[in-house]
C-alpha cells in the first residue's frame, strides 16, 4: 500500500500538494488568523471578548502550540502517506483539546466563578479541519470494519479520559455541565430512549409490514405511498397534529396517562419519531427481499425447501444487510430528530439546546448539540461496520479487488 503510494506520489505531475490538504490548511489558517481562538465573558450572558491564540496561553506555550499546528497543517498540505496523516490528525486534535483546556485555566481569574471561557471560531475551524483530515485518512486507509470500530473505541476512550481528567473543567461548556450533571445524564437517557425505542418499535412493526408488502403486491404501492406522504410532514407540524389525539387518549383511555401519554411531553415525540422511522424500515425490508437473486430463490424451491425454510434460511439472511442499512438510517436520523422533543417537553438533549437558545447561552446549546452529534456519528460508524460485516459480497477478496479498481481513478 505505502509502496504503491510512494510510486504514485513521485510519478504524479506538479508539486506534491494534496487537494483536500490545501483546503484544510486554508481553513486552519483562516480560522487562526481571522477568528478568535477562544471567547472570554465576564459572566454567562454578557457579550464575549475575542482572544487570539497567542494571548490565550502563556507566551512560550502559545508559540509551541501555534508552531505544532503549522507543522501539522503543512504535513496535510503535502502529499503524505495515509498512516502519517491519520496520526497527525489525531495528535493535533488532542493538542487542540489540551490547548483549549489550558486557555480556560489561564484566562479565568482565580476565585472568579462568573467568568466564562468558551472555544472560539479559530478553535472550531481547526478542530473541524483536522477531524475531516482524520476521517479522510481513515477512508484512504480502507480500514476493515473491525479496524474502524477499534479506532472509534480509541477516540471515544481518549475523549472520555480527557473529560474525566478535568483538563477542560474551566471551559464554559463543562461549567454548564457541572451545574447540571444530574439533569444531563437523565436527559441523555431520555434521548437514547426516544431514538432507540422508536427505532425498535419501528423495526417490530416495519419489518413485518415490508415482508407483507413483498407478498401482497396491491398493498405495496398503497402503504409505501402513504408512508412517503407521512415522511413529508414537517416535524413541527406532526407534533402539532399529535397533540389532540394523544391528549384525548391520555384523558379517556384508562392507564394511558399513568404511562405518560399526553398531548405534549414524551409521548408525541416518541410517536413522531416512530412515524418517521417506518418508511425507511418498510422500504429497506422490501428492497432487501427484492434483492435476493431470482436464481437463488428458484434453486431453493427446486431443491425442496419449504416456504418457511426458504424465508428463514435464504431470503431473510440475504436481505439482512439491506434491512440493517435501514436501521442505520433510522438510528442516525432519530438521534438528530430527537432534539426536537425538547420543544414539546419531551426531554432529551434538545432540552439544553432550546433552553440555551431562549437564554442566548451558546454554551448551553453546545451542551445539548455536541453529544447529539457525537452519538449520531458513533452510531453511523458502528452500523456501517455491521452492515459491511454481514454482507456476503464484501469478504476480504472482494474488498481487495474493489480497492485495486478504485486506486486507478483516485
Amino acid at each position: 500500500m505505502s509502496a504503491g503510494f510512494d510510486l504514485q506520489a513521485t510519478t504524479r505531475r506538479g508539486a506534491g500538494l494534496d487537494r483536500l490538504g490545501v483546503l484544510l490548511a486554508a481553513i486552519v489558517a483562516a480560522g487562526l488568523a481571522l477568528q478568535p481562538f477562544c471567547l472570554f465573558r465576564a459572566n454567562r450572558i454578557v457579550a464575549a471578548k475575542p482572544v487570539g491564540l497567542l494571548s490565550a496561553l502563556p507566551p512560550l506555550e502559545s508559540q509551541i502550540v501555534l508552531g505544532l499546528i503549522v507543522v501539522a497543517s503543512v504535513l496535510l498540505l503535502l502529499r503524505t502517506p495515509s498512516p502519517l496523516r491519520l496520526s497527525v490528525s489525531v495528535l493535533t486534535l488532542v493538542l487542540l483539546a489540551f490547548a483549549i483546556g489550558r486557555a480556560g485555566v489561564y484566562l479565568t481569574p482565580s476565585s472568579n466563578t462568573y467568568a466564562r471561557v468558551a472555544p472560539g471560531g479559530g478553535f472550531w475551524f481547526a478542530a473541524f479541519a483536522f477531524a475531516i483530515a482524520l476521517a479522510d485518512a481513515a477512508v484512504r486507509l480502507r480500514m476493515p470494519p473491525l479496524g474502524r470500530l477499534a479506532l472509534l473505541a480509541l477516540i471515544g476512550g481518549a475523549l472520555w479520559l480527557f473529560l474525566w481528567s478535568g483538563a477542560c473543567d474551566a471551559l464554559s461548556i463543562l461549567r454548564e455541565y457541572a451545574n447540571r450533571a444530574d439533569v444531563f445524564w437523565r436527559e441523555a437517557r431520555v434521548h437514547l430512549f426516544l431514538a432507540a425505542g422508536s427505532l425498535a418499535a419501528a423495526a417490530v412493526v416495519g419489518i413485518p409490514l415490508g415482508i407483507l408488502c413483498v407478498r401482497v403486491r396491491p398493498l405495496r404501492a398503497a402503504l409505501l405511498n402513504s408512508l412517503n406522504i407521512l415522511q413529508t410532514i414537517p416535524s413541527m407540524a406532526l407534533f402539532g397534529l399529535l397533540i389532540a389525539p394523544l391528549a384525548w387518549i391520555g384523558a379517556h383511555v384508562p392507564g394511558a396517562s399513568a404511562i405518560g401519554i399526553a398531548g405534549i411531553g414524551i409521548a408525541p415525540a416518541f410517536v413522531a419519531l416512530f412515524a418517521y422511522s417506518l418508511l425507511p424500515m418498510v422500504s429497506n425490508t422490501v428492497a432487501g427481499l427484492e434483492s435476493v437473486p431470482v436464481q437463488a430463490r428458484d434453486a431453493a424451491r427446486g431443491m425442496g425447501m419449504t416456504a418457511r425454510q426458504r424465508f428463514m434460511e435464504i431470503e431473510l439472511p440475504l436481505a439482512f444487510p439491506v434491512i440493517l442499512t435501514g436501521i442505520r438510517i433510522v438510528l442516525v436520523q432519530n438521534l438528530g430528530l430527537a432534539v426536537l422533543a425538547g420543544l414539546i417537553g419531551g426531554g432529551g438533549f434538545g432540552t439544553f439546546v432550546f433552553q440555551g437558545i431562549s437564554q442566548t447561552a451558546t454554551d448551553l446549546v453546545l451542551l445539548g448539540a455536541l453529544p447529539t452529534v457525537a452519538l449520531a456519528f458513533a452510531a453511523a460508524i458502528v452500523l456501517d461496520a455491521a452492515v459491511e460485516m454481514t454482507r456476503p459480497m464484501t469478504s476480504a477478496s472482494a474488498r481487495k479487488s474493489k480497492s485495486l479498481f478504485e486506486r486507478h481513478d483516485e
Partner: protein, 311 residues
C-alpha cells in the same frame, strides 16, 4: 422411468404446454430443445412440480408425482439451472449439503459426500470447501451447481440450460463431465436447451418442442435423417445436417482393413472429424489408430456415402 401423459399447462388462456406425452427410460439422457417460449422449461418444471399442470399426469417409476407433498418430491429429484442459483451467503460445502441437510443426513455422512462430489468435479476439497460462491469462476460455480443437484444421489436430474452461461471451451468440458457422471451413476437426466448442437451431443433422445407442442421425440440420427416437420428440419440445420449426422458416429464404425499414409486418426474420433481431415489433407484414406497401434483405415468414399440421407 418418467411417464408424461397428456400434460397441459394453460397460463391466462395460452397453452404453454399443450397435451405432451413422452416416456423417458431409466438411465437415459433426454434433451428438450426448442426456441424460447416453446414451453420446454414449463414442461421440465412440471416434472418436479415447480409448476402444477392444468391437466394430465406425470408418473415417476410408476408413482404419480402428486402422491408426495411438492417439497418432498423435489428433495428426491436433482435440479440444476442456468445461473446456477448458488446461495451467495453460504460456503461451497454448505451449498452442496443443502438437500442432504434437508433430508436429515448425519454430519459425517454429509461431509464425506461433499468431499466425494468435489473430487468428482475435479475441485480439491480442502481448497474449495470453505470458499464463497463469488470467489469461484463461472465454470467452477456451474460444477458446484451440478454437484449440489446430485448431492442426495437422486435417480432423476432435471437441468434447465445448465451450460448456457459458459464460454464454448468450458462448456465442452462441462458436457463431457456430465456424460461421464451420467455413465457412472446411470442417472436419468432431462436437460432443457435451446441449442441443437448441445441437444445432439448430450441426448440419447431429443424432444423438439414448438408453441407448447411436442413435434418429434427421437434419437439424434433419426431426427436429422427424418425430421417430422419443416420446423424440426430447420432447427436441426438444413445446411450442415450431413456433418451433424457424421458427428454422431465414431471412426471405428467405418473401420476397414487396409493401408493408408500420413497422420493417423483416433478410432473414437467422430466421422465428421475424419472427413474434415481427409478433405483438408487431400487423402483418399486415413490410417486409424487404436491403443497406440494402426488397426486399419477409413476411406473418404465411405465417409461421404455415410453423410448422405439414410434410407
Amino acid at each position: 422411468m418418467i411417464e408424461i401423459n397428456g400434460i397441459t399447462k394453460v397460463y391466462e388462456g395460452i397453452r404453454a404446454v399443450d397435451d405432451v406425452s413422452l416416456k423417458i427410460g431409466s438411465g437415459e439422457i433426454v434433451t428438450v430443445v426448442g426456441t424460447s417460449g416453446s414451453g420446454k422449461t414449463t414442461l421440465l418444471r412440471m416434472i418436479n412440480r415447480l409448476v402444477e399442470p392444468t391437466s394430465g399426469t406425470i408418473l415417476i417409476d410408476g408413482r404419480d408425482n402428486r402422491d408426495l407433498p411438492g417439497h418432498e418430491l423435489r428433495r428426491a429429484i436433482g435440479y440444476a439451472i442456468q445461473g446456477y442459483g448458488l446461495f451467495p451467503h453460504r460456503t461451497v460445502a454448505q451449498n452442496i449439503a443443502t438437500v442432504p441437510k434437508l433430508l436429515g443426513w448425519d454430519k459425517k455422512r454429509i461431509e464425506s459426500r461433499v468431499d466425494e462430489l468435489l473430487a468428482l468435479f475435479h475441485l480439491e476439497p480442502s481448497q474449495f470447501r470453505a470458499r464463497m460462491p463469488h470467489e469461484l469462476s463461472g465454470g467452477q460455480q456451474q460444477r458446484i451447481g451440478v454437484a449440489r443437484a446430485l448431492a442426495a444421489e437422486p435417480a432423476v436430474l432435471l437441468m434447465d440450460e445448465p451450460f448456457g452461461a459458459l464460454d464454448p471451451i468450458i462448456r465442452g468440458k462441462a458436457q463431457e463431465d456430465l456424460i461421464e457422471i451420467q455413465r457412472r451413476f446411470a442417472t436419468t437426466i432431462v436437460l432443457v436447451t435451446h441449442g441443437m448442437d448441445e441437444a445432439i451431443r448430450l441426448g440419447h433422445r431429443i424432444a423438439v418442442m414448438d408453441k407448447g407442442k411436442l413435434l418429434q421425440f427421437a434419437a439424434p440420427a433419426e431426427l436429422i435423417a427424418h425430421p417430422a416437420t419443416a420446423f424440426v428440419a430447420d432447427l436441426a440445420g438444413r445446411a450442415d445436417r450431413a456433418f451433424r449426422l457424421l458427428s454422431l458416429s465414431p471412426v471405428v464404425d467405418l473401420l476397414e482393413p487396409g493401408e493408408a499414409s500420413g497422420e493417423p486418426i483416433g478410432a473414437q474420433a467422430s466421422l465428421k472429424d475424419a472427413l474434415s481431415e481427409a478433405l483438408w489433407s487431400g487423402r483418399a484414406a486415413l490410417p486409424v489408430l487404436r491403443d497406440g497401434a494402426i488397426v486399419g483405415r477409413v476411406t473418404r468414399e465411405k465417409l461421404m456415402a455415410r453423410a448422405g440421407q439414410p434410407q
